[in-house]
């Protein structure tokens, strides 16, 4: 029987982060990380990021019999001040990407450059500086707040860990300011999380993410646990905060309409790989990857007459196991365009040859040999 176990490095957090870099390099890294970056520049560059969870067998002498390829070589850029949406179905590796970018998991291979520093290899003070600048909002507001701590302690803890951000006497006022910023009554500072509704808790989670005044916030399905009416409030709050604090968001979700609402660019993931990436108009109105087209055809349409007319793409079969993905193109087992080439040659994420140089919106990166534009949302 095979079981999924984390690597030892993950089982012993913080122990492995042994500082081997000398003080001068570390100093330079911290300075680089704290340097400002101008609007429109890439702030986070992900290159061939890989995370494999080993599958082991045996009790005493564990031998690796395979690996779950949760994230298998993805690359993208996040620009300062923009929102990059990442969509994909459950188990495609979205959340693992978030954990890798937060260095909550150690990458198996690949690099994540934040202002030129590869954060997957940082440790000690430089890593702490990165953490000050990249924060996260979690999916479930019911488990992401410590039930034993008051709101003031939950948000104020960020200042205890990073004391240079706020002087000691100033912290309580700062926490109250943050509560005000996210639209909560600052007098709620002594309350416990269970005294709040789901939407209010997620606001607390956002306040915690904002406390260190970060540049990037990674949002791992921040509204999927909330009611639809509350989702809109929280999304609008996040959009407002982005303008106010000049934040860059990596917005992970499976709700395509919410991603479209908040994102400037969208990346579509399938089975640990990026299938297609482009601006929201390019992805939603001019998708070229068959998986994106299938995904978009499943978006509920509120208008019944339009619903009857449009084409539905029904995929057959299930998502293959990430421990044993198909050869070549990951999507070929469920793709209606699949040919022999798809099983032998892995399509690279690039602008398709036929659209290259053209001014059409279809000219964006797509990992398909037979990329062709198909407007599924507006199809009559």
């Amino acid at each position: 029987m095979a079981d999924i176990r984390k690597e030892p490095a993950d089982a012993t957090p913080n122990v492995t982060e042994v500082a081997t870099v000398d003080a001068a390099t570390e100093e330079a890294a911290v300075a680089a990380i704290d340097a400002p970056v101008s609007q429109g520049e890439p702030i986070l560059q992900v290159r061939n990021l890989v995370k494999h969870f080993p599958l082991t067998q045996g009790i005493l002498f564990k031998k690796q019999v395979g690996a779950v390829k949760a994230v298998d070589g993805i690359s993208f850029d996040l620009y300062a001040g923009e929102t990059l949406g990442i969509v994909g179905e459950s188990g495609c590796g979205k959340s693992t990407v978030a954990k890798l970018l937060m260095t909550l998991e150690r990458a198996t291979a690949g690099e994540v450059f934040y202002k030129g520093q590869d954060i997957t290899k940082l440790s000690g003070r430089a890593l702490k500086a990165v953490r000050r600048n990249i924060q996260m909002v979690f999916q479930d507001p019911y488990t992401s707040l410590n039930p034993r701590m008051t709101v003031g302690d939950i948000i104020g803890e960020t200042f205890e860990i990073h004391p240079e951000v706020a002087p000691k006497g100033d912290r309580r006022r700062k926490v109250q300011d943050l509560l005000d910023v996210v639209g909560l009554n600052p007098e709620y500072i002594n309350r416990y999380p269970h005294q709040f509704s789901g939407g209010q808790r997620q606001r607390i989670g956002i306040a915690r993410g904002l406390a260190l005044n970060p540049e990037i916030i990674i949002c791992d399905e921040p509204v999927s646990a909330l009611d639809v009416s509350v989702q809109a409030q929280v999304i609008n709050l996040m959009a407002k905060l982005q303008d106010e604090f000049n934040l860059s968001y990596l917005f992970i979700a499976h709700d395509l309409s919410i991603v479209r609402h908040i994102s400037d660019r969208v990346g579509v993931m399938y089975l640990g790989k990026m299938a297609e990436i482009g601006t929201d108009v390019q992805i939603y109105d001019h998708p070229t990857h068959p998986y994106t087209q299938a995904l978009l055809s499943a978006v509920p349409v509120p208008d019944p007459s339009a619903r009857d007319n449009r084409e539905r793409i029904i995929l057959s079969g299930d998502v293959p196991s990430p421990a044993n993905p198909p050869s070549g193109c990951r999507f070929r087992t469920r793709c209606w365009k699949a040919q022999d080439k798809c099983s032998t040659e892995m399509p690279l994420l690039a602008i398709p040859e036929r659209f290259k140089g053209g001014e059409t919106p279809a000219s964006h990166e797509s990992a398909c040999h037979f990329a062709e534009e198909k407007d599924v949302v507006h199809a009559a």
Binding site: N14, V15, R131, T143, I161, I189, S197, Q200, P302
Partner: protein
């Protein structure tokens, strides 16, 4: 499709104060978890009664001379229960009658408190600290640390508790209170370790622990500020229930003649002595048994009350 805008709630900021204690939070100072628990406990009758009982027991254990003038070890055969069976007035040496050696049962019950309370509390503290530490390390670090510590725990768990304690006690010729504490703690820590390990494994995967790590919190902060407060409740319950178990285990060992030995006075030894004379003199058995039951009950009630107070969800 229904009009969603109609049913959408007003912005949350304008909402009326939430359910919960209706106090002006702005005027109130920030209270800790334990401060809140105390506010809750002082209004809880279970807590008041059990705490009063425990305080009384601790006073009796500390200064038994306050409660009786009689000596628990000096017997006068003229007072043998067969020769002088009538009972005296409250608090006097003859109040609860005399035992077979002519010793005052009341004095023995009073003086026996010390051994039971000391054994119960000391064993519980030792077991909670040691078992809790082992369980926490095993649960948090996982991997080979967990494999080694869990294996170690299972070896001790495999030994029957009373039988093991008897074997340990056999090794000592001088069976003082310290020796009994050691014998019980030696095998008793496994349960707490297992409870702690399971609770830590559950809590360490929670998002709020990940959030703390994402903020850059160190191992000790995560363990003591995030994990420990969230695993305390089951550990406190197990510890208080087992406190009663250790007091009765001490009584059992004394009953079997392997626990404390004369001239130490303990309820277990008196219950053992009384059991053999139950047909002729029930009082020798009944009074130490009542005290034992009250003590065990008081600690279990206290544990329950503290657990409820420490859990903000029940408030």
């Amino acid at each position: 499709m229904p009009d969603v805008t109609k049913t959408a709630p007003a912005p949350e900021k304008a909402e009326a104060p939430l359910a919960g204690p209706q106090v002006d939070v702005s005027a109130e100072k920030a209270r800790s978890l334990w401060g809140d628990a105390w506010q809750d406990l002082r209004r809880n009758w279970y807590f008041i009664i059990s705490a009063a009982l425990i305080v009384l027991l601790l006073v009796i254990a500390a200064v038994p001379g306050l409660f009786t003038s009689a000596s628990p070890t000096v017997g006068d055969l003229a007072h043998h229960f067969l020769s002088k069976p009538e009972l005296g007035k409250v608090g006097s040496p003859e109040w609860l009658g005399y035992d077979g050696q002519g010793r005052s049962v009341y004095a023995r019950v009073i003086y026996g408190t010390r051994a039971s309370v000391i054994v119960g509390i000391s064993v519980t503290l030792l077991v909670t600290l040691f078992g809790g530490l082992i369980g926490m390390l095993a649960g948090y670090f996982g991997g080979w640390v967990d494999a080694v510590l869990s294996g170690f725990t299972n070896v001790f768990l495999g030994l029957p508790f009373l039988l093991g304690a008897m074997v340990v006690l056999q090794a000592f010729t001088d069976r003082t209170v310290l020796v009994v504490i050691f014998a019980l703690a030696f095998l008793g820590w496994t349960q707490i370790a297992r409870v702690m390990r399971g609770a830590v494994i559950t809590v360490k995967q929670a998002d709020f622990v990940q959030a703390a790590r994402a903020l850059g919190a160190g191992t000790s902060r995560i363990l003591f500020r995030h994990i420990l407060p969230n695993v305390l409740a089951p550990v406190i319950v197990v510890a208080t229930i087992s406190l009663g178990v250790y007091i009765s285990a001490e009584a059992t060992l004394s009953y079997l003649g392997l626990g404390l030995a004369s001239p130490t006075v303990s309820w277990g030894m008196d219950i053992s002595g009384g059991a053999s004379q139950i047909r002729v003199a029930q009082h020798i058995l009944i009074y130490p048994s009542i005290m034992l039951s009250i003590t065990v009950l008081a600690f279990i009630m206290l544990g329950e009350a503290v657990r409820n107070a420490l859990d903000p969800k029940t408030r």
